[in-house]
């Protein structure tokens, strides 16, 4: 428990502040509309659902402000870069931008539900009081018509007895934009479930652009001024607390109280969303600008492109699809004069890309690149001891790191904080990764030449083994190099026993801060996280394991 707190205190604090603000805004707005005299008459018709609707509206404004910020990748990268003096814990939060985006989205959905339900009750109340003929306060207030020469001091938006609530909904700006926004929101949510995102990314990507309708709708939602409160002037003249009782006598000439006059609430959503929308537009312009820069393929080059280890880029290939951008980790090191990615065929777009490149007789298709963007792998060199775990295609960010180490050694870079790296490569079979194999072989030789054999400790685990392979390995046990990979380090079969690994590392480095980096599936993340908590000492001076997961 103690370790969990040490690793996650900032996330918890951030979430508590965010939730707290939501609660505060809700309660504050609720009380305002429930108690203020300005809405005394409005409450006479609507009751507490007015305050409910307004409170949820304020929370919707707040969360709509926040929702665009976590997806401004370039802004976040910039923050990461400028905050190099900030502690590791603070910078790690920027990795969780998508999680926060989802949380804010759920909150928007919740408040949308509250808002719609409250307004359904409101419309029903308005409709009933318009139909009422009993001369009650509510019916008199509703009869204040829109035609008054004094500038429309009406209260009830439902004008005539025959108007249905459906008619008002679809002919008022608030109602129509509300319906459009909600449908856009629902479509965005259903196409963004994990299953759809992972299996049919295009459906998610294109549908999610419906957010434009949501934002536009939000901007103009309040223009009609349907939420009405009594005007200042009218309140001075006939205060509701004094005059409400005597409503039958408002029209009498000698009464102190006149008919109350109402005015609409000016729209305020646009004030909340203006800044994030501008930031997001800048973000998209920046992405577009970067995408226009020429990329030379065979070895990719782009003017002004500079990267750090483990970063990723977004790639677009206009000849395959104009609008789709897909993320790929960079497998080259910053020290090289080109940048590279390795792509696995995993769906429509990747298969088409590979096919396009394999064509012998047509020219190489043009590629657009946006990035690079930073993720946790950049932090590898900040740790004294680093444990890198790459599962399957997840080995790609580590290709960049290992290559970078190689170059740093060649330049004898003494600024390298890292003293020891443990690298675990877990995959079904190494066939698809022969390029990585070659990298490890070169590193092995390099280490030997420099006499630093102990710096990089790597283990390869083949999970797709069968008895043939094992038999073969057993027979060749005495050979110096492994028969499967040709590396000096022998291949293990099956999955690593993390408890053993972690306890060995903890024993060998009792006073160090160990960074654990994973690029792989969630189940593995869970086991590693558990091990990090279990083997971190409660004493902050002794061994500490920090877990970092990379995902897209």
């Amino acid at each position: 428990m103690g370790n969990w707190v040490v690793n996650h205190w900032f996330s918890v604090l951030f979430l508590v502040v965010w939730l707290g603000l939501n609660v505060f805004l809700f309660v504050d707005a609720f009380l305002k509309y429930e108690k203020a005299d300005k809405y005394y008459y409005t409450r006479k018709i609507l009751g507490s659902t007015l305050a409910c609707a307004r409170a949820s509206a304020l929370c919707l404004n707040f969360n709509s402000t926040l929702i665009l910020l976590p997806v401004c990748r370039n802004l976040l990268s910039f923050l990461r870069g400028t905050c190099s003096f900030c502690s590791r814990t603070l910078r790690k939060q920027l990795d969780h931008n998508l999680t926060f985006h989802k949380l804010v989205a759920y909150m928007i959905c919740l408040h949308t539900a509250i808002h719609i339900i409250a307004h359904l009750f409101n419309f029903d109340c308005y409709s009933r009081s318009r139909q009422a003929t009993d001369g009650s306060l509510a019916s008199i207030l509703s009869s204040l018509s829109h035609d008054e020469k004094k500038g429309g001091s009406w209260l009830n938006p439902i004008q005539s007895r025959n108007t249905t609530v459906e008619y008002v909904t679809f002919t008022s700006i608030a109602g129509l934009t509300g319906v459009i926004m909600t449908i856009a929101l629902i479509l965005m949510v259903t196409s963004a479930t994990e299953f759809i995102r992972r299996s049919y990314f295009e459906v998610f990507w294109y549908t999610h652009h419906l957010f434009i309708f949501y934002i536009l709708g939000l901007g103009i939602h309040g223009i009609g001024g349907i939420v009405r409160g009594q005007t200042e002037e009218s309140m001075n003249e006939s205060h509701p607390r004094k005059c409400a009782e005597s409503f039958e006598m408002w029209d009498d000439r000698d009464s102190h109280c006149r008919r109350p006059k109402f005015e609409g609430h000016p729209p305020e959503s646009w004030k909340w969303i203006l800044a994030p929308v501008i930031l997001y537009i800048c973000e998209r312009i920046l992405r577009f600008y970067r995408s226009q820069q020429k990329v030379v393929i065979t070895k990719m080059n782009k003017r002004g492109f500079s990267m750090e280890v483990g970063q990723y880029i977004f790639v677009n290939c206009p000849s395959i699809s104009l609008l789709e951008w897909h993320p790929f980790t960079l497998t080259s090191a910053p020290e090289e004069d080109f940048f590279s990615i390795h792509i696995r065929a995993a769906g429509d777009w990747t298969e088409n890309l590979i096919r396009a490149f394999e064509q012998q007789y047509s020219p190489i298709p043009r590629i657009e690149v946006d990035g690079p963007f930073g993720t946790a792998s950049e932090d590898v060199f900040q740790y004294e001891v680093a444990v890198l775990v790459g599962a399957g295609i997840g080995v790609t960010p580590f290709a960049s790191i290992l290559k970078s180490i190689w170059y740093k050694f060649q330049c004898a870079d003494h600024n390298l904080k890292t003293k020891k790296i443990y690298f675990y490569w877990i995959c079904r079979e190494t066939g698809a990764f022969s390029w990585f194999n070659n990298l490890l072989t070169s590193l092995e030789q390099e280490m030997e030449e420099l006499g630093k054999v102990g710096f990089l400790n790597y283990r390869l685990f083949l999970t797709g083994w069968d008895s043939n392979i094992v038999g073969h390995a057993a027979l060749n046990f005495d050979k110096a190099t492994d028969i499967v990979t040709g590396l000096k380090q022998k291949t293990s079969f099956g999955r690593p026993m993390w408890d053993n690994e972690f306890s060995t590392i903890a024993t060998s480095h009792p006073k160090s801060v160990v960074g654990v980096f994973l690029c792989g599936p969630r189940t593995l993340a869970k086991s590693l996280r558990k091990c990090c908590h279990r083997y971190s000492s409660l004493d902050p001076r002794k061994v500490q394991f920090y877990f970092n997961k990379e995902n897209f």
Binding site: I117, I183, V189, T190, F195, Y200, V203, I426, T523
Partner: protein, 145 residues
């Protein structure tokens, strides 16, 4: 785009619509809005749609993530044979179910969403669109590679 199985998204959308219909129906019935009996209908229709759409069909390519506890409903859905298997039948069914709920403001959102789900089901290529039950043995998630 050729490999997208629209039925999978239609399924998510229909499930969400069912929930929205139920919620709208409860609000209308509890609040005794005018013509609240449409709300009562909406609850029943919503429950039916949710039960029908809860078991996720098997994907043509790749493994299918089952929803928690869906195997109980799978048995029921399989019973109705072609009526529940064929996605076009589902599309028409959803369209018809959504119409009565359109008369009440509280449930009109459910109508719109269910109609959209119906439209997405119609995007399935002809002759290739059927709901198939996920086999219990093969529904295990692949282990860490």
């Amino acid at each position: 785009m050729g490999q997208i199985e629209w039925a999978m998204w239609a399924n998510e959308q229909a499930l969400a619509s069912g929930l929205i219909l139920i919620t709208g129906g409860i609000v209308a019935t509890a609040g005794r809005f005018t013509q609240w009996y449409f709300g009562a209908y909406s609850i029943v229709a919503g429950v039916f749609v949710c039960l029908l759409e809860y078991p996720r069909g098997k994907r043509k390519k790749g493994s299918t993530m089952e929803r928690w506890g869906q195997k109980y409903m799978t048995a029921v859905v399989k019973l109705f044979g072609p009526f529940t298997r064929n996605y076009y039948v589902r599309a028409v069914l959803h369209l018809l179910l959504s119409v009565p709920a359109g008369f009440l403001l509280a449930t009109i959102l459910g109508t719109a969403c269910l109609a959209i789900a119906s439209g997405i089901y119609l995007l399935c290529p002809a002759g290739g669109c059927a709901w198939r039950a996920v086999d219990a043995h093969r529904a295990q998630a692949p282990g860490a590679a």
